[in-house]
Each structure stands twice: as structure tokens, then as C-alpha cells.
Amino acid sequence: MDTKRHDQDIGALTSGAMAEPWEWVRKKIPAGTQVFDAHTHVGVDIDGRAMTAAGMKARMEAANVHRSIIFPLNDPNARDDYLGPNDVVWSAYEEYPDAFVPFFRLNPHKNYETEFERCVKRGFGGLKLHPVSQEFDLDDERVVRLFEMAADADLPVLVHAGFAMQRIVEPLLPTVERVPHLRLILGHSAMVELLEATRAFEDHPNVLFETSVVKAKDLYVLFCSLDPTRICYGSDIPYGDLPSTLHTTLGAADAAGLSEEELAGVLSGNIRRWFP
């Protein structure tokens, strides 16, 4: 086995012991499905991880993924307004306009109005918020205002609702009920509160559950507890990868008995309702 370091060598993700799971994934994806990844990052993070536009595109091509939502990491160069990292994402989109849907990122603790307006005018497809990295609660009044601004601008918001989160449903539900036109993507499917979230948001069709780096046992519960048309696939690149996250999603969906049509929706059709 060749084990030298190669960050861009995606072959290591589908060879050796991964060859059989990857082959299973390829056969399991319903014919004609153009896979849409609803959760990826481009840029650099304070933890040292990074992803370039070309690296992201290469991963998509190797795994036959058609489109991806991209947004900034927790960038050390974000300063107050995330302008620099948002520009990196926009440049990636301009390089591969057919492959990427660009989301911008903001820090609700800082003055965000100018950058919000700039990004809306520029044509970004949505907003990414990370309550853990930027240390805010989902019911903070500055965050609630951002949700309202995004809803009024008809922009979907992807909010991190995964690792390290301790309050998700209770602080989000009042906003979702009060602003029903807010289109919300729960990154990582509300992980720790997954089942409670399916009950709370079941009757709110503008809330989607996104699957990235959620374990198969969690996704099994999700697929068994929520209308599959409310679930969309994500990878969380560079923290996740396409082969293993596709394997997780397909394995859980298989165990839960999803039909091919439902599976195609999870992998593509459900998020395409917002990004045709």
C-alpha cells in the first residue's frame, strides 16, 4: 500500500479496503441521479485544513458528483466581516459556475450589514452560519435578525447543527414558526437532537436536514422518522469525504427501506428544489 502523504490523491479514498464499499456505492446510486453535495468548504481554516476550488472540483469529478454548495471555513483571515474568505468562494464559483453554488459566511457578533448587502447584490446563493466557531446562540437577537434578512432576501441559510452543539431545536423553533418563508438547511441534521428536530420541524417544509458526517445509525433514525423529501446529502469536505459520506447515507437509506425515487431525492432532487 502506498501511504505517502498526498492531500489531493483521492484515489486513496476508493482503493484497497475502500474499493468494495465504493463499488457498492456506485451501484446503489439510482441511474441518472446527478448527485448534489449540499455542504462543502473552500478556503483555509484556523485548524490548518484547506480546500482549493480545483481540489474540490477534482473530488467531485472522481466521485461523479455534479454540483456542490461551497462556503468559507473558519478562516484565520476572516477579520470582522468575512469579506476575504467570501471573495475566495466567489472566485471559486466564477471558475466553476456550473459546479458550485456559492454561500457567504458572516460573524453575527460583528457589523454584518454591509457585507450582507454586498454578497446579496453579487449573487451569492445563500448564507452559512456556524454557532460553535463564532460562539453564538441560535436565538441571539443579532442572529434572529440575520435569519429575517436572509428570508426577506429569499436566501437559504445553512446553519451548523452538528458536533459541539448543545441547543438546537428550542432556540430555532420560534424563528422558524415566526418566519415561515425562511429556508433553512440544518447542517449535520441536528445530530444530537436529531429525533427531537424531526418532530419540531416536521410541519415546516422550508427546513431541510443535511446528512454530512452524521453516522449511519443516526441517519437510520432520521430516514425512519422524517419524510425523505426533507433530507439532502452533504459531505462536509474537507472534514468529510465523498466516498465515506455517500456510503453512510446510502447504507442508512437502504436499511430504512427508502425507494429509489426517495434516494434520488436525498442525493439530488430535494436540494435542487431550491437550486434547480
Binding site: 500500500m1 501511504t3 505517502k4 502523504r5 498526498h6 492531500d7 486513496a12 479514498l13 484497497g16 479496503a17 475502500m18 468494495e20 464499499p21 458526517v213 453516522k215 449511519a216 445509525k217 437510520y220 474537507p238 468529510g240 469525504d241 466516498p243 465515506s244 459520506t245 456510503h247 453512510t248 447504507g251 442508512a252 436499511a255
Partner: protein, 118 residues
Amino acid sequence: MGEPVKDESVADEYAPEKVPLELRVGHFLRIGSYLDYAMLSMWTGRRPQVVMGMAEASVRGAGPGGPSGPDEEILARLRELIGEAREYHAADDFPAAMCRIRVAEDLVALRIIHLSGE
């Protein structure tokens, strides 16, 4: 003079139909917990090679059904995935290592879910 030797062969003792379902589930729960430890240690960077080695050890040897037991196919796949993960991690290829640990952990969880319906 001691007790007479039993007629049953060693192979018969490992007959799959004689392996209690609860024991098979219990074995997979053990493995799953070590894989969870491994994943956490990889993310936090706290003794990952040691904890991955524990996960590797948890799948060493035949399962409760013995060499011809009903779970040997998945156990063999787990050995391969965890072994390669540890090698990739040692070679500083985190994505290739984490990819394998994720798949291994999911295979174990999905097997437990499947067995619960038998």
C-alpha cells in the same frame, strides 16, 4: 479414568445456528465502541495510534461463531479497513484513515440494526 471425550467435533461447537443472536450483537457493540474511541482520538489528536490499535485488536481472531461463524465476512472487512486506516494515519494521510474508520463504524452499526430485526 476421566470423563469420556464428547462425540461432537470442534466444528460443531462453532455451528452458526448455535451462536446466540445476543452474543453476536454484543460482539459488534464492543467493536463499535472501540471504533467510536478511535474516531474521537483521531479528531482530538490524543494518542490516536494507540486507540486505533485498540480498535484493531477488537476485531482480531474469529467472532463468537468461530472461523465458520455467520459474521466472519464482515469481520474480515473490518480488519482490512481498520488496519489500512492505522497505516494511512501513521503515514499522515488523515482523510484516507478517517474515511476507513467511518465506513467500519457504519458497517458495524448497520449490522447491529439488521440483526435486531432477525
